[in-house]
């Protein structure tokens, strides 16, 4: 008895709070007796702290304490070495937080941090990823649990025998998530119980980690994340800010708020690893792929293995009889890389979808047609049919909307005044997964309902989407439903990440609503509150392992200044097949947000590492460029009306990452079409274009 809330465009439930400034983020809750923490990063890359001199800092007005490895409260050595902060004199990477100053004001804390003197024994370091690094090794698996290497057929023989071959290497730099709200926490200890207001993507897992680190019961930890100023993966698990703040609050026995500075979040809270990717494609004279190989190299740290699944995209995207993928890692003296929007798929698709463009040119067929020709209904990796695969429909509809049909493939053949104009296309795909969740639904005597689940809305529109799903599942108009999320006292739920939030949360909400309706049916009209809970662990765990994917196609037109090499986006258009779309308003925003981040990756973003200091030198928003308002002239997202009964009760595939996957390749392919210059090392800066071509 759906009331039709799902599929309808609703404005965000918290919109009013956000436009009036009353939505409170992690360090915006008024707390009596609050103090301020300021983190101190290490000044060496690798080494050992030999002395911490806090005298000057402690003498500075307002400073209450300086925490460091010699005096900080002890943490349990948990499963996450990155979070074992202020526990040891060892420095693993530059920027590691080695001290925290607590003071009665922000100004005093900042000044105190400046006055902390730390001496180090510095050791030599290695911080630059190269394809011949002596430390290259084969990890046991890649994230989250994929095989490191795969092979079917005989790639070498298949490749050697093919009439058309492409052998190209692409490089991507370090990318920094840069949510607009830096990682920030307010922490309070009361009678051995910890309350944190924290900026994260999943309060349930943060609570579990804090309980483990501080060796207290999960019930004595409460994590509130009502409003979160973006995450893009970087707030996926408990991160340094929440640990440092909780340590500081315990140490000074007062509430503490600590926000990492913009400069401090370039690295220590995670970043997208640089990659070096060699892609080899072979086809027959008609462009039918016969051999595919994708060899990916990325970096991890010395304290934890993080193996970006860069080549996994290539395993299931296009078919060929001879196939091979490999991943190699190097342990460098760097902060551990972490999730950034579509980890694995995003850099991997940049390489494969760029190589497909190069193959299309080598074969002499249209790049849309090349992808259609190599479509497959059966997952080449698993050998089973996809539950649904609408890549071709996305390509065709996109081509039609974009006006691709009469495209002249000749590079550098269109001029508009001083601008060279070109168009590019790329495919996109991202797995559609779900994780176990729990939820609670309550019927109130006045006819209204309360739905509770510890989901997190980091800007995705999750709060609104779950509310719509709940209304339909309860069979009531959404106006009668109240939704509570973003607090670990609510039923446990998984992280907002991996494009599986809505799938996972709505599953539990639907089951709780169904259980509640059963109860109400049995008991007649309620006189008091009636509550039902659901936990989908068994159901999700018992789901058959089928290849479930969302798909998309990106179309891009750029113009390139023939004199300066400046690249401007004329228009970007994406068509996606992502299952059911719960809320067209917030879905469109998610998709264009992902596409824009892909544009940003292609043209603007680049973490520039200085090997002498083992750190990124452009660690602020003036020098680490992200796409701004003036860079986005026209961007459109469309989606297919897709039904897939093998997904989850809400029928959603997730839309948080599909928008970024392939987007950078479409931009790079358009730049090639405009200029005839193939840049295989992102970002496509004007100096690279002007350096290798006689543009004028």
């Amino acid at each position: 008895m759906s009331t039709g809330a799902v599929g309808r465009a609703y404005p965000r439930l918290e919109g009013r709070e956000k436009v009036t400034g009353t939505a409170r983020y992690a360090v915006e809750y008024p707390v009596d007796g609050i103090t301020y923490g300021w983190a101190v990063p290490s000044a060496v890359v690798r080494g050992r702290i030999t002395r911490v001199d806090t005298s000057e800092a402690l003498a500075s007005p307002g400073v209450l304490a300086v925490l460091h490895h010699g005096n900080a409260p002890r943490l349990a050595p948990g499963p996450e070495p990155e979070l074992w902060l202020l526990q040891e004199p060892t420095v693993h990477y530059r920027g590691q937080y080695v001290a925290v100053v607590v003071a009665t004001s922000l100004e005093a804390a900042r000044e105190g941090a400046r006055l902390v003197r730390i001496d180090y024994d510095a050791a030599s370091h290695s911080t630059v990823l190269t394809d011949d690094h002596p430390g290259l090794y084969q990890p046991d698996h890649v994230n989250p649990s994929y095989p490191t290497d795969t092979a079917e057929g005989d790639f070498d023989a298949g490749y050697a025998a093919a009439p058309v071959r492409v052998d190209v290497t692409y490089r991507t730099p370090a990318y920094h998530n840069n949510p607009m709200e830096p990682h920030a926490t307010t922490a309070q200890w009361h009678d051995g119980r910890l309350l944190v207001h924290d900026s994260n993507q999943g309060a349930s897992s943060v609570r579990a980690t804090l309980a483990e680190l501080f060796e207290v019961s999960p019930e004595s930890v409460r994590v509130v994340a009502e409003h979160v100023g973006g995450g893009f993966g970087s707030k996926g698990y408990a991160k340094a800010a929440v640990v440092l703040t909780a340590l500081a609050a315990r140490h000074v026995d007062r509430p503490v708020k600590l926000a990492l500075t913009r400069q401090q979040i370039f690295g220590p809270i995670g970043y997208r690893t640089p990659t070096i990717q060699r892609v080899r494609l072979a086809s027959d004279a008609d462009g039918r792929l016969t051999a595919i190989c994708h060899d990916a190299i990325s970096q991890t740290s010395t304290i934890r293995e993080f193996a970006e699944q860069t080549a996994v995209y290539t395993r299931s995207m296009y078919a060929a009889p001879h196939r091979r993928t490999t991943h190699r890692l190097v342990r460098l003296d760097v902060p551990t890389p972490f999730w950034m929007r579509a980890p694995g798929e995003c850099p991997g698709a940049y390489a494969l979808e760029s190589a497909m463009d190069e193959l299309a040119i080598a074969v002499g067929i249209d790049p849309v047609e090349l992808r259609i020709r190599n479509d497959t209904e059966v997952d080449p990796d698993q050998g089973r049919p996809f539950t649904s695969r609408n890549l071709v429909t996305c390509l065709r509809e996109g081509a039609q909307r974009f006006g691709w049909a009469d495209r002249d493939p000749t590079p550098r053949a269109r001029r508009d005044g001083r601008w060279l104009v070109g168009t590019g296309v790329a495919g996109s795909s991202y797995p559609a997964r779900a994780r176990p969740s729990s939820a609670r639904a309550t019927a109130r005597p006045d006819g209204s309902f309360l739905v509770q689940i510890n989901a997190t809305d980091i800007g995705t529109g999750a709060r609104t989407a779950i509310w719509q799903v709940a209304a339909d599942a309860l069979g009531v108009p959404p106006e009668r439903v109240e939704i509570h999320i973003g607090d670990s006292i609510l039923p446990t739920a998984p992280v907002a990440g991996g494009s599986m939030g809505t799938a996972s949360w709505s599953w539990a909400v639907i089951r709780a609503a169904q259980a509640l309706r059963e109860k109400l049916r049995d008991g007649g009209p309620p006189t008091g509150e009636v509550t039902a809970e659901a936990d989908t662990a068994d159901e999700v765990g018992g789901q058959p392992a089928l290849p479930r994917y969302a798909y998309g196609a990106h179309f891009v037109e750029v113009r390139v200044d023939a004199d300066t090499g400046e690249v401007r986006l004329n228009r970007m258009l994406g068509v996606f097949a992502a299952g059911r779309v719960v809320n067209p308003t917030t879905a469109r925003s998610q998709l264009i947000g992902g596409m824009t981040m892909g544009l940003s990756m292609a043209l603007h973003e680049e973490g520039l590492l200085d090997e002498r200091y083992g750190d990124w030198v452009n660690h602020d928003l003036a020098t680490y460029h992200i796409t701004g308002c003036a860079d986005v002239e026209s961007i459109e997202a469309y989606w297919l009306d897709e039904r897939d009964d093998e997904l989850n009760p809400a029928g959603v595939k997730g839309i948080g990452e599909i928008g970024i996957v392939g987007a950078a390749a479409a931009v790079a392919n358009a730049v090639h079409h405009a200029t005839g210059v193939r840049i295989r090392e992102l970002p496509i800066r004007l100096d690279k274009l002007i350096g290798v071509s006689d543009l004028a």
Binding site: P11, M180, V632
Partner: protein, 183 residues
């Protein structure tokens, strides 16, 4: 357990100032450490947390407020310099329980996602529309002798100082355009 003895030293009179200024139409008086920025004054001393701290270096625009009607990045303004002046933050863009047309347009066009840059976008847009009404040109204005027409290119350029990592840019432009044309 304390790492050192309780530090009872406080900021003395030489390093603090009494600042009197108007915030969202109300007179306010605060005694502040001279190092305090306008942004931290609003957030930490007046519980006006609408203005956001995204970078604290004037690079992201999240802290934008109106100072005597003109948009400023409040993280770059020392509070002692606003004595006797007037500040409007996002909390003052409309009366209590009201929305300004711009705020309503932001909701209608879904011109934000996480919402963290939004107060800065709104104050910036308000200030920008006033600049346009005064005939101020921007970097993309072709003819400096006639008042600029508020094209999308003008809006994009004039709003380029406010970063949005969620990338709600086209919706921000649409909301500003609608507000400009209906007022």
């Amino acid at each position: 357990m304390q790492g050192g003895p309780e530090n009872t030293t406080t900021i003395d009179e030489r390093h603090s100032s009494r600042v009197t200024f108007e915030v969202n139409g109300e007179p306010r008086q605060v005694t502040l450490d001279n190092r305090t920025t306008l942004l931290d004054t609003l957030r930490e001393h007046l519980d006006l947390t609408g203005a956001k701290k995204g970078c604290d270096h004037g690079q992201c625009g999240s802290c934008t407020v109106l100072l005597d009607g003109r948009r400023v990045k409040s993280c770059l303004v020392f509070a002692v310099t606003v004595d006797g002046r007037s500040v409007v933050s996002v909390e003052g863009l409309a009366g209590p329980d009201e929305l300004s047309p711009l705020q309503a347009a932001f909701i209608a066009h879904d011109a934000f996602q996480c919402g963290y840059c939004t107060p800065g976008q709104l104050c910036s847009a308000r200030g920008m529309l006033d600049e346009v009404s005064r005939g101020w040109p921007s970097a993309v204005t072709d003819d400096l002798n006639t008042p600029a027409e508020l094209t999308d290119a003008e809006i994009r350029e004039r709003m380029a100082g406010n970063l949005c990592r969620c990338a709600a840019y086209p919706h921000i432009v649409a909301a500003v355009r609608e507000t400009a044309t209906s007022s």
